[in-house]
């Protein structure tokens, strides 16, 4: 085990909002690992997959340098995701990362984290799900994450990947939350491209995990063992089983609702709204936001006013924020990097009965295809 590097513990608020920042021109993988450097992580467990690998390699280097206390390369994603679930139960801060097919391989484990009330951070570098074999960016896997019970943030760029990762630890470990936080970005567009990222000093770090102030007891033999039940729910009584499972699912849902204020605090709101008065709106998340910003600028050059709602948090979903921002909208488009259009579905369900706007069923690109601004502009003004 490497010696721990001396860093000064500061509050999440100080680290995220108050500490002076300096700019660096770095990739998304570097931004994520720089966040982990400042996150006081105890255990990181890695398994390679493109485009995620570089991040967990860099986090391995952080272990060698003494910024992380334990690290290893697991046997596969089920092994990696299970091992951090064991570590999280024991009260240490832990994280892992994956992409498309790897996420799908570990999905049973991912969906078990919330039910076990495990604070941890899971980084997702989105990639297509096979088949046919491809390593290209496409965020279809986030559709599967939406119902997994995890808190799910979707970063637009390298700066978001840095900030949301740090925020993820702070949100995850709040007593009234006690849930895993997944932080996603679109692979390659963010992970492998460089951009300016503003970061606080590497001499600062988050406070350690305070595991005894969370919602469930730790598995560490520091509290008296009790039998979980005289009649374990799975066996004799279906009625007890139904009731326990239903109540627990409601509790996870309630924890999501309680997380709203913390997600909002640590990532500065669940949405960002540009040109709120515009009647033609783009609703987007992830890299589609960056392309939409450029389309918006081009539309302004053409003399047309377009608004943009950046959805930062997919779970909890910004229901009230979206309804308020779309109240006066006449036309909404939802550009996405996936075929089924999961954000479009979310937007329609959220605005149903709350907006008169026509919601276009697109535009969407997938399989790794980029999103030209011309496509966004064409969809914006299609009906005119």
């Amino acid at each position: 085990m490497a010696n721990t590097v001396n860093q000064r513990v500061v509050t999440p608020e100080h680290l995220l909002f108050e500490a002076p920042r300096t700019k660096a021109f770095i990739t998304g993988s570097e931004a994520a690992s720089e966040a982990v450097r400042r996150a006081n992580v105890d255990i990181a467990i890695a398994y390679p997959i493109t485009p995620q690998s570089e991040t967990m390699e860099r986090i391995g280097n952080l272990f060698a340098e003494g910024y992380i206390r334990d690290y290893y390369r697991a046997e596969d994603e089920v092994g990696a995701f299970s091992a951090i679930s064991g570590a999280s139960r024991t009260g240490v801060r832990c994280m892992t990362a994956s992409s498309g097919p790897g996420l799908m391989r570990g999905l049973e484990t991912i969906a078990s984290w919330p039910g076990h009330r495990l604070p941890l951070v899971f980084l997702i570098m989105c990639r297509v799900i096979n088949a046919p074999l491809s390593i290209q960016p496409d965020n279809l896997e986030l559709d599967y994450m939406l119902t997994s019970g995890n808190i799910l943030l979707h970063g637009e760029n390298q700066q978001d990947f840095f900030d949301y990762t740090l925020a993820g630890f702070a949100i995850s470990e709040k007593c009234e939350v006690t849930l895993p936080v997944a932080v996603a970005v679109d692979g390659f567009f963010v992970t492998h491209a460089r951009a300016w990222v503003e970061m606080p000093s590497a001499e600062l770090k988050l406070p350690p995990r305070d595991c005894y102030s969370e919602a469930v007891p730790m598995i560490d033999n520091e509290n008296p063992p009790v039998r979980i039940a005289r009649d374990a729910p799975i066996q004799k009584s279906n009625f007890i089983s139904y009731q326990m499972h239903a109540a627990w699912q409601q509790e996870i849902h309630a924890a999501h609702e309680r997380s709203r204020k913390w997600v909002s605090r640590y990532i500065n709101g669940l949405v960002e709204v540009v040109n709120p008065e515009a009647e033609t709106l783009i609703v987007a998340s992830g890299s589609a936001v960056s392309q939409s910003r450029e389309a918006l600028r081009q539309a302004e050059e053409m003399g047309k006013k377009v608004g943009l709602i950046k959805v930062k948090s997919l779970r909890p979903f910004p229901t009230a924020e979206l309804r308020a921002a779309c109240r006066h909208a006449k036309r909404i488009i939802v550009p996405e990097f996936n075929c089924p259009g999961w954000l479009n579905r979310e937007v329609r369900a959220t605005l149903y009965g709350h907006s008169e706007a026509k919601i276009a069923d697109g535009p969407r690109v997938y399989g790794g295809i980029t999103m030209p601004t011309e496509l966004i502009l064409e969809w914006l003004f299609k009906s005119e």
Binding site: G79, S88, V92, I234
Partner: protein
């Protein structure tokens, strides 16, 4: 765990469930009890729901009476018959998923080591043959190859008993079971040999027919896992429900398999583990 923590608030003493009061007053925590003391103390397991004559239930009862320090033991289980018993065992125990027990235990053990570097906190994996030799084999083997300091116990009833008696990799060759309508086509997976070759410092196969031998294997596995490396104990636990014999014949079935060498009992100890055990057992502390 501080043993002082395991006591009742006086004001609640008269409303606590009777078996909880017994556990506090005459449980095994901090007492150093073993299998020979069964009947004289309150056992960790309470009213298990397993079938009459269940070999697995007997093995679990014996394992629980064999723990060197139950107050500092975490059990990681898996889906199967044993997962029905563990909610009724007064130990910190985890059921995560089917097959991922050794991976969960790896993270758990490492985290315990980080948080309590100077304490022995035993992590014991207890799972069935399906969980250990089939669906979880990669995670079991990798935990051994990585040298994770875990004691892994397989409760081998030679079938997927909890789902109604389907063939597992540990079913005997030729055995007719669900999903093997014309008999199993390959031999039992040689997990003790795989364990030995994958880095386990201590490997044993035992049956509940000889409780003291089972106790010795479990204790050795836990003690060696503290200091030396991963360990593996395979316990034959005949299943009357799925193999259609009478509940009272369970031990006779195990004895017969031991006698005709179709379930050979073995023990493998690395020289390092042998030296470690000799130092411990020389004092007569753990036998």
């Amino acid at each position: 765990m501080s043993k002082a923590m395991f006591k009742m608030t006086t004001a609640f003493a008269d409303v606590m469930p009777a078996e909880y009061v017994e556990l506090v007053q005459s449980g095994p925590f901090g007492q150093g009890y073993g299998v020979a003391d069964l009947g004289s103390f309150k056992e960790l397991i309470e009213e298990h729901p397993l079938c009459a004559g269940c070999g697995l239930a007997l093995a679990v009862r014996l394992i629980m009476a064999s723990l060197p320090t139950p107050e500092d033991t975490v059990v990681v289980g898996s889906t199967g018959c044993s997962s029905l018993a563990f909610p009724q065992i007064a130990l910190q125990n985890i059921h995560s998923l089917f097959g991922n027990q050794n991976a969960v235990a790896s993270g758990l053990k490492r985290a315990l080591k980080l948080r309590f570097p100077d304490k022995h906190k035993d992590v014991l994996v207890v799972a069935g043959d399906g969980a250990t030799a089939d669906i979880g084999l990669d995670m079991v083997m990798h935990s051994w190859s990585r040298g994770e300091k875990l004691a892994t116990i397989m409760l081998d009833n030679e079938a997927y008993a909890n789902t109604g008696g389907q063939e597992s990799g540990m079913s005997p060759e030729g055995c007719v079971l669900y999903m093997a309508p014309t008999g199993k086509k390959f031999k039992k997976i040689a997990l003790p040999e795989i364990a030995r070759e994958s880095g386990c410092a201590y490997v044993a196969s035992v049956t509940p027919v000889q409780p003291r031998k089972l106790e010795k294997a479990v204790r050795r596995a836990i003690l060696v896992a503290r200091e030396v490396g991963p360990t593996y104990v395979q316990i034959f636990v005949p299943c009357p429900t799925n193999f259609k014999f009478k509940p009272q014949e369970t031990l006779a079935k195990a004895k017969q398999r031991e006698k005709d060498q179709t379930y050979p009992l073995r023990e493998f100890i690395t020289p390092e583990a042998q030296a470690y055990l000799a130092a411990l057992e020389g004092g007569g502390k753990h036998d």
